[in-house]
Amino acid sequence: MPETNAYWRKTRWLTISLFVLWLLVTFVMNWYAREINEISFLGFPLGFYMGAQGILFIYLAIIWFYNRRMRTLDAEYGIKNE
């Protein structure tokens, strides 16, 4: 069924792009934590702030966005939600 194939293709595309975002935030940004620490944010050095709070909000946003998109996709392709 080409319909459901499209569903899986879109799911996979969504998953991969969010996964790459996660990789960037988690590993690439933290690699430069020492440099980012030079910037000050809300009284924190930014590198410290990201590790203690900022990244965690981004994680939450990634999951929230994924769930929202998947709900739309489920409805669009009439996927049984069991």
Binding site: L18, W22, A52, I63, E82
Partner: protein, 679 residues
């Protein structure tokens, strides 16, 4: 559905209300002279009775209820239960302390343990839920076919979970012995009872609803003391928002205190002590005899010069406590040497990322920071007791939502931990450093007595230098109520929270081990025709057996097993993560590939840990196999190698073997929810 939800929410609102009322009542009673010990008992009794009541009310004899709570747990509550399931005694007591001691480097735990939930949400939870059986080995068995992979999965699940559950029960023993002054061994068995009342009668169903109750207690207990401390210090009761300002003050204090002449002097004295220990160790066994002669001479001189009896007795005790043989001396002196090295080190600035003397050292810190994040993330996304929670929601969409709620509820604690560390550091730098030792606040003496804080006036100036103070990580959370000058009832609340964190994690782990053995080994492999009645009997007996075994091990106070918990993440990550992810996203992955990948990944991790961490195993009679770490990666991050080796092996072996014919229809099922397999 909606009516059910509001009813549940109402129940838990009543429950939270009555818990707060209970705490308030105890506060009033304390004001009227109720002794602290009774407050401790009251917390212990009240919370465990609550858990028992929920456990008994949710008893069941239905297989689906027992293994997956009947798949009727709404996303919101599954999030809370996952939060409690996930946050262990170590998260509750140890994390703030680790952040206190290591500053920025400790953030690896915060990032790693939350980042893992993104992987769970994107890569695993929806597919596990759509597959809809009972355990993680079930999933691997169905995807790859055959019992061999099921058995390997069961083995890895038990290996990772058992050590972990022992550490939780050990934690219960520590908490009860400190706050209620029960004997440690009795505390362990109180903990065992607390765990069994939740899981024995009602399985997953009872564990779920007690975990929700435990989450509420642990989060209230964690946030209350630091909110009050924050209010005292800054006038704002939301520590997460204001501690940036406190961190700035900490940095200023650090700049002022770290290089005062007396601090530099104290650190030099500790380094000299470390050097003298290292010389003594090198000159073993002769140095042991010299040491004994030196003490004997001193004693004889004192005796001849009619000195005070007290001094002679002290020296005689020193002589008695000398190690008996060179091997013991080496062990004892090495510990003392490392402690002295630790105190003699240049202290690190709390907010500095990757501190070090030269670029190479800084690079090592950077690599280890990222490697640790990697292992903790992948480990989080592979621990069977966490993954099993996502089988319990009514729908796939709710499974996805419940990962969101889980992370939100976990963040409540993980965002508070760094604030704890910064506030504690502020107190230490501003109220302990440069203070005469005789005038230190009372809480220091109280925790010194138990051995969690130690002070040594090495330069004998009667004033505390920072390097003269060393603290056990657990102290930060446990002592914050006293640091902020709060009544004992807050300490009791913290103890109840720590207890809830330990019990809830132990419940989840125990259930995972018992269902791996009873469902995957007994029912799926040994006797597929067993009646449901009998399957539950087997499951409950195994649960009891494993619980008693874990408590017995914990009662032995095994020191090494506690440090082994950190390795569970590397082991679980390298065993499960590649096989699960490739199983879902790569049609071509085969059984032979997955099997060899799981074994190679897991064994490589274990091999790396053993060779980096140990040099000899006395009871096996082998020694001298220690090795230098690869690229400076510490043993706690062994999973970096294990996970990549696992992926690599699965891909190579899968390409060399014939595809599994069942994979197509299985994947059609979990990817889109139609089981027929037409494409």
């Amino acid at each position: 559905m909606f009516g059910n939800l509001t009813k549940l929410q109402r129940y838990y609102l009543y429950y939270t209300g009555s818990f707060l009322f209970f705490v308030g009542a105890l506060a009033v009673l304390e004001d009227h002279g109720m002794p602290p010990r009774w407050i401790g008992y009251a917390f212990l009794f009240f919370t465990i009775t609550m858990y028992a009541a929920i456990g008994i009310a949710s008893r069941t004899s239905d297989v689906s209820e027992y293994y997956v709570a009947g798949r009727r747990v709404p996303a919101f509550f599954n999030g809370m239960a996952t939060g409690a399931d996930w946050m262990s005694a170590a998260s509750f007591m140890g994390m703030a302390g680790t952040l206190y001691l290591t500053g920025f480097q400790g953030l690896a735990y915060i990032i790693g343990w939350t980042g893992g939930f993104v992987l769970v949400a994107l890569l695993l939870a929806p597919y596990l839920r759509r597959f809809g059986q009972y355990t993680v080995p079930d999933f691997l068995g169905a995807r790859y076919g055959g019992n061999a992979i099921r058995l390997v999965a069961v083995g890895a699940a038990i290996l990772a979970s058992f050590v972990y559950v022992v550490a939780q029960i050990y934690g219960v023993g520590v908490i009860t012995s400190r706050f209620v002054s029960l004997q440690f061994e009795i505390g362990v068995f109180v903990g065992l009872a607390g765990i069994l009342v939740c899981s024995f009668l009602g399985g997953m169903r009872a564990v779920t609803w007690t975990q929700v109750a435990q989450y509420i207690i642990l989060i209230v207990a964690y946030i209350t003391p630091v909110a009050i401390l924050s209010y005292n210090v800054t006038g704002n009761p939301v520590p997460q928002i204001v501690y940036g300002r406190v961190l700035q003050e900490v940095t200023q204090l650090e700049n002022r205190l770290f290089d005062t002449p007396s601090e530099v002097e104290v650190r030099r004295l500790f380094r000299e002590r470390a050097d003298s220990y290292s010389q003594k160790i090198m000159q073993l066994p002769a140095s042991l005899a010299i040491e004994r002669d030196r003490l004997s001479n001193q004693i004889n001189q004192l005796k001849a010069s009619d000195a005070q009896m007290k001094d002679i007795v002290a020296l005689e005790r020193q002589r008695r406590e000398l190690p008996h043989d060179p091997a013991q001396a080496r062990a004892q002196w090495e510990t003392a040497m490392f402690a002295a090295i630790e105190r003699g080190k240049q202290p690190i600035h709390h907010a500095e990322a990757f501190p070090g003397d030269d670029p190479e050292q800084r690079m090592g810190m950077r690599i280890n920071f990222l490697a640790l994040i990697f292992c903790l993330t992948v480990g989080t996304a592979a621990l069977p007791h966490v993954l099993a929670r996502f089988y319990t929601t009514p729908t796939v969409s709710q499974a996805r939502d419940s990962v969101f709620w889980s992370l939100l509820f976990i963040l409540a604690l993980y965002m508070t931990a760094p604030a704890y560390a910064v506030f504690a550091k502020f107190e230490v730098l501003s109220h302990l450093a440069e203070i005469p030792i005789a005038k230190l606040p009372g809480w220091v003496a109280a925790w010194t007595k138990i051995g969690l804080v130690s002070i040594e006036d090495i330069n004998r100036d009667g004033i505390l230098q920072l390097a003269e103070l060393s603290m056990n990580p657990d102290v930060i959370v446990l002592a914050t109520p006293e640091i902020a000058g709060m009544p004992y009832v807050v300490s009791g609340l913290v103890a109840a929270g720590a207890l809830a964190a330990a019990l809830s994690t132990a419940d989840g782990l125990l259930l995972t081990i018992a269902s791996a053995l009873s469902h995957d080994v007994y029912y799926r492999i040994i006797r597929p025709d067993a009646s449901t009645q009998f399957r539950l009997v087997i499951s409950k007996s195994l649960l009891l057996l494993v619980a008693v075994l874990a408590a017995t091990v914990a009662a032995e106070k095994p020191g090494t097993i506690l440090s082994m918990v950190a390795w569970a993440f590397s082991i679980a990550g390298s065993a499960f993560f590649p096989a699960l992810v490739l199983g879902i996203f790569w049609k071509r992955a085969t059984c032979a590939g997955a099997l060899s990948g799981m074994l190679v990944g897991m064994l490589l991790s274990i091999y790396y840990i053993i060779r980096v961490e140990f040099d000899s195993i006395p009871w096996l009679g082998i020694s001298g196999f220690g090795m230098e770490p690869w690229f400076q990666v510490q043993s706690i991050s062994a999973g970096v190698y294990g996970v990549f080796a696992g992926f690599f092996t699965i891909i190579v072996v899968s390409l060399a073997t014939k595809p599994y014919p069942g994979a197509e229809s299985f994947l059609n099922g979990i990817r889109r929810g139609n089981q027929d397999g037409d494409s």
